[in-house]
Symmetry: C2
Subunit: 206 residues, 2 copies
DNA sequence: ATAAAACATTGCAGAAACTGCAAGTTCGCT
DNA sequence: AGCGAACTTGCAGTTTCTGCAATGTTTTAT
């Protein structure tokens, strides 16, 4: 059985864990979207999923973590994708490519992400924790970039490019969530990257 | 009385408040730098300054706020400075000028800022709250930038430039704190801005 | 100088976030 | 079936943070 796939084996237990985690995250988002962050307790969230509050904290270190999702998982995939891009490709392009991981993720769970961005918009303190603001994952990307460009550690370039890229992604996602028509996130990200590659020229006239 | 200066009147009360606030911030930083964030309680911080824990929360909304300093005050000055730059100056240059406010602030309280950056480096969760990560102040800057460039709200440019600028400042400050020789922060910021204005060209050879 | 208003500090009571520990259950594997 | 590992849960306890009411201290007006 389970003779297919490169993954070891999902297993009933893992599936249950994933479901519980997802259910907690979704319940948290829905409740907070309705009532506001301060008006929702961990107890209510766990209640909605029918687990004990203690279990909630087995899944998330704090209440906010249930809202922002799992950046670490995404980050790892971004790093992997980045490392897979051939070295002759310029860094900015490579980073843009790596972000396809994130874009696909958002596309796959569109509604969840809409909710999330709505909650984040109403609670700005969460924004930085969403993506590429927390240093945990940034550090990993900085290393890959540094290796790619081939500069030593005290050169500011890798950190700068990484931070700027993160900023681009953040603004693209914020904008994406704000527009009612929900344009393609990839287009917004492309636009931002183009502007950056051009040195952020002031938009004349248009 | 108090016929000098543009400010209304400092007043003994205000001075005392400022001193208490500064003392709490400094005590918090020193203690956390020594023992680590989790090993320091609000009670200990207040104890060190000889005020009640309740008073601590009259000054800071949460423990972390005592560590990251008052971004709002700085932000207002940045916005004011930005608005004061003549409109014909390109946005990036204007933003760079406005950041002199921050740079001066850091220079004025060098040691405190070193401590702060050390603490932040060890507690990455604090980084975003330090500067230009929280949306409160970013929003204000975005508005000024938008007015400067003359584009409507759904144009991504103002938000992008603001976020990228914030990223540049953040990396410059992180780098500044990491270097043992403590080079001039202004130089690091200049370097970052130059790289951005040039479209983040990959550093060849050097 | 003195009274009144304004504001700061504090203690207390309490809600909620979070953690470690010691069960109890479920699951995966043989 | 049965053993061990992993997940869940309750409980007790610490810490963060808030509202309220009492008590000062500074400022302002008289």
């Amino acid at each position: 059985m389970t003779s297919a796939g490169t993954q070891p084996a999902p297993g009933r237990r893992d599936r249950k864990k994933r479901r519980t985690r997802a259910a907690l995250a979704e319940a948290a988002l829905r409740l907070v979207a309705e009532r506001g962050l301060a008006q929702v307790t961990v107890e209510e969230i766990s209640e909605a999923v029918d687990v004990s509050p203690r279990t909630f904290f087995n899944y998330f270190a704090c209440k906010d973590d249930a809202l922002v999702g799992d950046q670490v998982e995404d980050a790892k995939r971004v790093v992997a994708r980045l490392a897979a891009v051939p070295p002759e490709v310029p860094v900015l392009t490579a980073l843009r490519t790596a972000l396809d991981e994130v874009i696909d993720e958002v596309r796959a769970e569109r509604e969840l992400w809409c909710l999330r961005m709505e909650v984040v918009a109403r609670n700005p303190a969460l924004l930085p924790r969403l993506l590429a603001g927390n240093t945990e994952m940034e550090r990993a990307i900085v290393e890959v970039v540094a290796a790619r460009v081939g500069v030593d550690a005290d050169h500011g370039y890798p950190a700068l490019v990484t931070a700027v890229t993160g900023a681009a992604l953040r603004t693209a996602m914020t904008r994406w969530a704000a527009q009612p028509e929900r344009p393609d996130l990839a287009d917004l990200v492309d636009e931002a990257f183009a502007a950056i590659a051009a040195g952020l020229p002031q938009p004349q006239g248009s």
